[in-house]
Symmetry: C2
């Protein structure tokens, strides 16, 4: 043990954070020891409050500290963007020109992990669509096998109800080099090609 | 604000950690919210204990949760390795074949930051050397201008006392920080230490 016990314990705790190895955890621990006590108490308090105060929005299933989240209580339900996890809402919110609602499934369909339709918040999605008079559902699950399967499943489910279901486009991402794109991505990008001039 | 208030507050706290930007802080925050409550309480507790229980060793000035640290209370004082900061002890301890003591200066001489000899734990070093009958002092301050100047200053100071003062070899590349050096480099640097005053 290179450090005294309280330091090693803190390093072990920090190592649980995603992507944090021993060296990074040790840097964080030394930072904590060197920081002002007020800042350290604030950090500990904020960790506990985030865990205890944050709950799931009764409507969309996203994270909130109220019963109904900020987004659900301020936007119209014409469009609902369906995501797998609560954190995906924050990712999609970076797109400034989307002003619709969200719906968190709580995962994707996964035969391997024994997760079927009943394990996802699909019934809740159906009742929200009916209540809100939703016209379009945008499937924003991850662009992988499970995300695609989940999107197709929900599309088939909503089809008889006359709801338009769309899927976020899959293609080469902005700023990357074509050279490094994989074949599946390139194939999908080609399939979903857009007319830029009709000649 | 993309996230609810408790989450944004936690993100702001995490961003104080060294090298952590918004995106990383947000990942940590979502991890905390999704983790088991016991683990989160453990993290918060360990942060507070590290800050409150860890103090400076009365002898070497390194971090410890006792009056005198594990190293000072178990090793002989024939050799003392002088470092700038408490965290540097853990870095040097990666070199498995060093079995001497340490002494933390609490910084380096820096005219720019108005830090002179009286601001460093130099008097404490002198009295430890006399008390312990130390034969060699290894200067392991960072391989930069301030670190070198501090090493030279202490070498000149100890020369009349007949103490051998060595400097870790500049196998560690100029301008980098000790904290980021790998074990092999550190081990070689220690092995190839050069006499800067024979006392």
């Amino acid at each position: 043990m290179r450090n005294s016990e309280p330091i090693e314990r803190l390093i072990a705790s920090f190592r649980n954070l995603p992507g944090v190895g021993y060296k990074t955890a040790e840097r964080y621990a030394y930072y904590v020891i060197g920081a002002e006590i007020a800042e350290v108490e604030e950090l500990a308090k904020n960790i506990l409050s985030a865990k205890t105060e944050v709950k799931f929005c009764k409507e969309c299933g996203g994270y909130t500290n109220k019963d109904v989240c900020q987004i659900c209580s301020s936007r119209s339900g014409e469009t609902i963007c369906v995501v797998a996890e609560p954190k995906d809402i924050s990712v999609m919110e970076k797109v400034k020109n989307y002003n619709g609602l969200y719906h968190v499934l709580g995962g994707t369909l996964s035969p391997l992990e024994n997760r079927g339709p009943d394990d996802l918040r699909i019934k809740e999605l159906l009742s929200r669509i009916q209540k809100l008079g939703t016209k379009e559902v945008i499937m924003a699950t991850n662009p992988d096998v499970e995300g695609d399967a989940t999107a197709m499943y929900i599309a088939r489910l909503l089809s008889p109800l006359g709801i338009k279901v769309t899927r976020i486009a899959q293609g080469v991402s902005m700023g990357t080099d074509l050279e490094y794109a994989d074949e599946v991505t390139l194939s999908k990008a080609l399939e979903a090609r857009q007319v830029i001039s009709n000649g």
